[in-house]
Amino acid sequence: MAAAVISAAGLARTFQTKRGPVEAVRGIDLTVREREILGFLGPNGAGKTTTLRMLTTLLAPTGGTASVAGHDLAADQVGVRRACGYVAQSGGVDPSIGVREELVTQGRLYRLTRDQAAARARELAHDLGFAGLLDRKCGTLSGGQRRRLDIAMALTHRPKVLFLDEPTTGLDPGSRADLWDLVRRLRDEHGTTVFLTTHYLDEADALAERLVVVDQGVVAAEGTPSALKLRYGGSIDASLQDTFLAITGRGPSPADVTPVAV
């Protein structure tokens, strides 16, 4: 079995708010192996994005420990940053800036020289299929093109681990299929470990080899899609939708089934 590239134990984050402490993540234990595509699922507010932001050093945990690619999250933040790429839900490019300029600046932030950064920008644009868009403003790209640019930005330094937060939200079916192919290709050709969150269960089913379901800030279930279906959905042919609802205990409420008024 491949070595663990991410491991977390009791990872937690409590936010202090005016209305008292809010435990966004209460204690996540998980292991992600090298070259794995992991689907990180959970209802809204389960703590998915908070967990991602902790694993990428954007947010300091208030409890627990974790390491990414052999770098301890608390002791070696720079090491973690060098090892991972992150694409937020909102993406991360300025619409008023040119595609090439954003890619080159990103390369320079990862300490490439000017020439290396320019070459890497061309290479990424070619690899991810937007070579013809380098001289356009980021704001003029379509949703699918924008997503590929966001991912290219995160791949600048050839990270070992790529974190994608709801990468296909808002994309048309064609762009989603392209993105799935891209994720598989990254793993197959570059050995990148991919950690992705999604609300689309068909996406998790098609793309992820293993799923981790979080609910209310803790891991509620984990395993391969078929193992989870068998265990929680009652049969290997159960839909992931039903399995997910069984795990998180949130079936449609009666009010949703029978509308009071139409």
């Binding site: 954007l58 300091a60 940053r81 790429g85 992150y86 909102s90 991360g92 932030l109 300490r111």
Partner: protein, 249 residues
């Protein structure tokens, strides 16, 4: 690394400023209007022991330019937080101090450029001041911009909507302007107002620049002005860097 990273962030934001020429010139409009329509009212008033009224008014307008301009710098952070640009940069190994310094040094460049335009217009209106004094004035504009820009960026991480940020900055800058004697020297004020104005750091800066414009570079005002400006900038950059490290969380 810090120099490399700061240069990189500075370049990115300076190019962004250069792309919007309109915004680059627009900031100078308010002090220019004061110069044109308020300045002439003062020419026959005895404002100070030495020099013309322009040597009293222009230093105030320079700092006003920086005060109102740099305090609003944080709007950019609110916008970039929405676009995910700040997080995208924070996830790279880039120095956190550089993320702040690159931005505030760009702001300082922009406001010193606007200050040069303002002084040129003032010379056309009748300002006469020694060259070293004018250069010292630009240095104060730069320092004040670094200080206020840093605090503004820090505040923008805490106050996350433009609807709250705008009024809050207005509520802070207006009294600061009035109490520091930017428009008219506080020596004209009754004792209670003069005392109150000594609690506002900008008071020391404007007194120093007025001395510089009158050619006295070694006065007590100058000493206090330099100390307050450098101290304020150091404190503000420290606070700002800390906020960039945690992004306000």
């Amino acid at each position: 690394m810090l120099l490399h990273d700061t240069g990189l962030i500075y370049g990115r934001y300076l190019r962004q400023s250069l792309r919007s020429r309109f915004a680059l010139l627009f900031g100078v409009l308010m002090p220019l209007l004061y110069l044109l329509f308020f300045g002439p009212l003062l020419t026959r008033l005895p404002l100070g022991p030495r020099g013309s009224s322009w040597q009293v008014l222009v230093p105030g307008l320079l700092l006003q330019l920086s005060l109102f301009g740099a305090s609003f710098a944080g709007f950019a952070i609110i916008l970039e937080n929405g676009q995910g640009v700040v997080e995208r940069m924070r996830v790279t190994p880039v120095s956190r101090l550089a993320l702040l310094l690159g931005r505030v040094l760009r702001d300082a460049t922009v406001f010193v450029f606007q200050a040069v335009l303002l002084v040129l217009a003032a010379v056309a209106m009748g300002l006469r001041a020694p060259a070293p004094g004018i250069l010292i004035g630009f240095a104060f504009v730069a320092l004040l911009t670094v200080a206020l820009g840093s605090l503004s960026y820090a505040l923008a991480f805490k106050v996350r909507t433009p609807q709250e940020f705008g009024p809050l900055i207005n509520a802070l800058t207006m009294p600061s302007m009035l109490l520091s004697g930017l428009m008219l020297p506080m020596t004209l004020a009754p004792a209670w107002l003069d005392v109150l104005s000594h609690l506002v750091p900008f008071r020391y800066l404007v007194d120093a620049v007025r001395d510089a414009y009158a050619g006295s570079y070694t006065s007590t005002h100058m000493l206090y002005g330099v100390l307050v400006a450098v101290g304020f900038a150091t404190l503000a950059v420290t606070v700002g860097t800390r906020v960039f490290r945690t992004a306000g969380a």
